[in-house]
């Protein structure tokens, strides 16, 4: 039978396809809306491919099972949302300190508390800033299409192995639930087990721990981690730029917000507003270089997000507040509409012009 790599998939399905094509061998998860299709798809295909799928008793168990599988040198992943990610944070902190590669998919939902199952981006701080205890960061990839869900399902494992660190694929309920046409990438070659693995055939003196009683020992572990994060900041910043070169106003948005902002840019351009878009693809490392370069010629930034102004902090830090930065946001499961973004951006543009005009003698 002739096969094709063109397929229609939900975002939640595509990330599992990506993981399988990257050679992920173990999936451990606990159901939660709107991430459950990830577990459904994993249950079907990990099992059919003779790989490991296990429904854990809790999110806490799932992340610790991932820790076990990762310690044995296997590519392992879990997926959850909002409150489930909160539960996983202790385990992620251990993974970071033990320098174990692993992939965690977060299909964000509304919070705080039980919140709702609508799409929100309010996990930004708990995912991008470390989240658990200790001086650590995780690489965070933010897909805004089903193709990227699949591609980052692959890339996340590559980065996790390269830097021996947990990697998040963080998206929202819309990207998770929506279906798009995409091209499946070719399967990766199977990787040999890493030398540090706890597994029959490796050096049995391999040992994985995150306890260092001597203050100097723990400090040097922390310093090593910070050096790693500096490397990641240097080499792994990713962002998509759209009509930024001549833009007076640059919108910054990721995931579904970035995508809607892109449609808004087209409409703003039709109205004669010189607007552009930076869509961060990595949230850690935040695309600082791209933003600082843009700040040299643009007049204003707007953070478009489905949270209470969480990403806006990183924009301010990136450009050291050298330009005015405004916020267009929705919360509670609401998605900003194209019209909403266009209207608010236009009024910021008008304000910019009047203020600019006033300064002139």
């Amino acid at each position: 039978m002739e096969r094709t790599n063109k397929i229609l998939l939900k975002g939640n399905e595509a990330v599992v396809y990506g993981a399988l094509l990257a050679g992920c061998e173990c999936f451990f998860g606990y159901p939660i809306t709107p991430a459950s299709e990830i577990a459904h798809t994993a249950a079907r295909y990990f099992t059919r491919l003779g790989r490991v799928f296990l429904q854990a008793e809790s999110e806490i168990a799932a992340i610790n099972m991932v820790m076990g599988a990762a310690a044995s040198g296997r590519r392992a992943m879990t997926a959850s949302s909002g409150l489930g990610i909160s539960l996983k944070q202790e385990g992620v902190s251990y993974l970071a300190c033990c320098e174990l590669p692993a992939v965690i998919v977060d299909v964000t939902r509304g919070g705080p508390g039980l919140g709702n199952i609508g799409p929100e981006q309010a996990d930004y701080n708990q995912v991008v800033k470390g989240g658990g205890h200790g001086n650590y960061r995780c690489i965070v990839l933010a897909p805004s299409s089903v193709q990227e869900m699949c591609d980052f399902g692959v890339l996340s494992f590559e980065l996790a192995d390269k830097y021996r660190t947990p990697v998040y694929v963080m998206t929202d309920g819309v990207i998770g639930q929506m279906m798009e046409s995409l091209e499946l990438p070719a399967p990766l070659k199977k990787q040999p087990l890493p030398e540090w693995a706890l597994d029959y055939g490796k050096n049995r003196n391999n040992m994985i721990t995150s306890i260092f009683l001597e203050y100097d020992d723990l400090e040097s572990v922390n310093i090593r981690l910070q050096e790693k994060y500096a490397e990641i900041r240097k080499h792994e910043q990713r962002a998509e730029e759209y009509l930024v070169d001549d833009a007076d106003i640059v919108l910054v948005g990721y995931g579904i917000a970035g995508r809607i902002a892109r449609s808004a840019i087209d409409e703003l351009r039709e109205r004669g507003v010189k607007a552009g878009l930076i869509r961060p693809i990595t949230l850690f490392p935040f695309p600082v270089d791209c933003l600082t370069r843009t700040a040299e010629h643009t007049k204003m930034f707007i953070s478009v997000e489905m949270s209470n102004g969480q990403m806006i902090d990183d924009i301010k830090l990136s450009i050291e507040c050298c330009r005015p930065i405004e916020l267009i946001n929705r919360m509670g499961g609401n998605i900003p509409t194209v019209t909403e973004i266009v209207d608010k951006t236009s009024s910021f543009n008008d304000k910019l012009k009047t203020e600019h005009g006033k300064k002139r003698p």
Binding site: R3, M65, M67, G173, M179, L198, R259, V338
Partner: protein, 506 residues
């Protein structure tokens, strides 16, 4: 007792404990009289005797034995408090040949990690759990444990454990023995020589089960903590043998390993050919070349479609068929279901956007080019979002004729036709037939007219490839929808809303 007495450190231990920080490299960090040292020795001896050091992973928990990896000459990992059975699950599922030892105290296993422990037991994970019960928290300085005896004084039960306030001690072995999955559960004590020799046998049996892949084995060890219980060695042993054993009777609670077959679980085979066969879809027979483009001008811009109706009317799968058509003709396409509380209310809608360029916003909230309404509330809700000169297709079996201004309106008795074909669920394919007429009447040019009938059929086949039996009925429904339009729309195009289908405002 027979056999030679050997005065040497077990080969399961390192010669010198180089991992231990500080000057002392020959002794363990445990207090005098502590049970951990004895149990460590029993385990070290057996992993050496069974020649399994190269595949044994010793999990150090949180508690006094957090540093167990200083001593054992095998793989070691220290894990979050209480999570040893979950980490063990990951290790043994990833490679079923790993011999995994989950070594846990009463706080780690009985309090913070009890759920992880009991669930791993109930899944029958092929691991050996060694549970050290000393009725107190050692590492944190003598607080109450779930196994602290009634009346026993600790830092957090200074007046003695009160059963009315803290409940009775947790009988872990009895609880786990009550489950069907575990194969071996025994409670022993690290007090007298006789008890220690029994404990030694139990350790060997548990690890033999693990090597033989018989499943979950647990041994509980009543153990001493003289420092925190403020006892000397003799008092400690008396406490174990009289008071603890009284509440936690020694003995084997379950041993069914002989009756169980070795567990077989997936071993994570990775074969890239197999991955392609499982994940890559089969190409539909009449597929087009990857660079094929339908030339009709309608496709020069992004097309935004909203489909809405009751749940169960096939709203989402109608959207899927349109999305599939677009995929088959090399468009970029997005399909977004109504998502959130609406889903529970019985109405459903989806947004489909197709484009030659990457699709922008997948949410169709205004500027809609095509609205397909399958019930009255959906029509009322979404009609205002339909653009001037946009197309409305509605099910005239159930919906009153709307007042639509400058829109192109097609009505089809989709539900009635579908019922005639056999089931309401074919209504969506009837609509698809109507859509094909709309396309031909207004939008398709030249060869695209022929191509699109084929595309509709291919989309139906692609969408229902897992349910071959319904493909033909859906194709029938498609042509019925198509015919209904032709039949009612002549000779003058003014066939207003009678019969099966009608075109208005043409």
């Amino acid at each position: 007792m027979t056999g030679k007495i050997v005065y040497a450190r077990s080969k399961g231990f390192f010669e010198r404990f180089e991992r231990r920080p500080g000057a002392i490299k020959d002794n363990m960090h445990y207090c005098p009289g502590c049970g951990h040292g004895i149990l460590h020795k029993l385990i070290a001896e057996v992993i050496s005797d069974y020649n399994i050091q190269d595949k044994t992973i010793f999990i150090s928990p949180v508690g006094c034995s957090v540093f167990a990896y200083y001593y054992f000459d095998c793989f070691g990992i220290s894990v979050p408090h209480g999570r040893a059975p979950a980490v063990a699950t990951g290790l043994v599922r990833a490679n079923p040949d790993n011999i995994v030892i989950s070594y846990q105290g009463d706080g780690d296993l009985g309090a913070i990690g009890f759920n992880n422990f009991i669930q791993a037991a109930n899944r029958g994970e092929n691991i050996a759990v060694f549970f050290v019960n000393n009725a107190i928290y050692g590492m944190t300085g003598g607080q109450m444990a779930p196994t602290t005896l009634p009346g026993q004084k600790t830092q957090t039960s200074p007046f003695g454990r009160s059963v009315t306030n803290e409940g009775y001690p947790l009988k872990v072995s009895e609880m786990v023995a009550a489950l069907d999955s575990p194969v071996y559960v025994e409670r022993t004590a690290l007090s007298s020589v006789r008890n220690i020799m029994n404990a030694r046998k139990a350790v060997r049996k548990a690890l033999r089960n693990t090597i033989d892949k018989k499943g979950f084995s647990m041994v509980e060890f009543l153990s001493g903590c003289p420092i925190n219980l403020k006892m000397n060695a003799r008092e400690m042993n008396e406490f174990i043998d009289n008071q603890m054993s009284n509440y936690f009777p020694l003995g084997c609670l379950k041993d069914i390993a002989d009756s169980r077959d070795p567990i077989k679980r997936p071993e994570g085979v990775y074969n890239s050919r197999q991955v392609i066969d499982v994940l890559y879809p089969v190409k539909v027979q009449k597929g087009v070349a990857p660079d094929f483009r339908n030339p009709s001008r309608i496709f020069e811009k992004e097309r935004r479609i909203k489909i809405a109706g009751f749940g169960g009317q096939g709203v989402l799968s109608l959207g899927m068929m349109i999305a599939t058509m677009s995929k088959l003709r090399n468009f970029n396409v997005s399909w977004l279901p109504s998502y959130g509380p609406e889903m529970r209310g019985g109405t459903a809608n989806c947004s489909v956007v197709l484009s030659r360029e990457p699709v922008g916003s997948p949410v169709v909230d205004k500027e809609c080019n095509l609205l397909i309404a399958l019930n009255q509330p959906s029509l009322d809700k979404f009609l205002p979002e339909l653009k001037t000169n946009g197309v409305l297709i509605y099910d005239s079996s159930t919906i009153e004729p709307p007042n639509c201004g400058d829109r192109i309106v097609y009505a089809v008795k989709a539900s009635d036709i579908a019922k005639r074909i056999g089931d309401l669920k074919y209504a969506n394919s009837v609509i698809l037939g109507t859509l094909s007429v709309v396309m031909e009447d207004y939008f398709l040019e030249g060869a695209d007219k022929q191509d699109f009938d084929r595309t509709f059929e291919e989309a139906i086949m692609d969408c229902f490839s897992s349910k071959q039996s319904v493909i033909q009925l859906n194709i029938d429904a498609f042509y019925a929808g198509k015919q209904a339009v032709f039949k009612e729309n002549q000779p003058d195009g003014a066939a207003d809303n009678y019969g099966d289908c009608a075109v208005k405002n043409k």
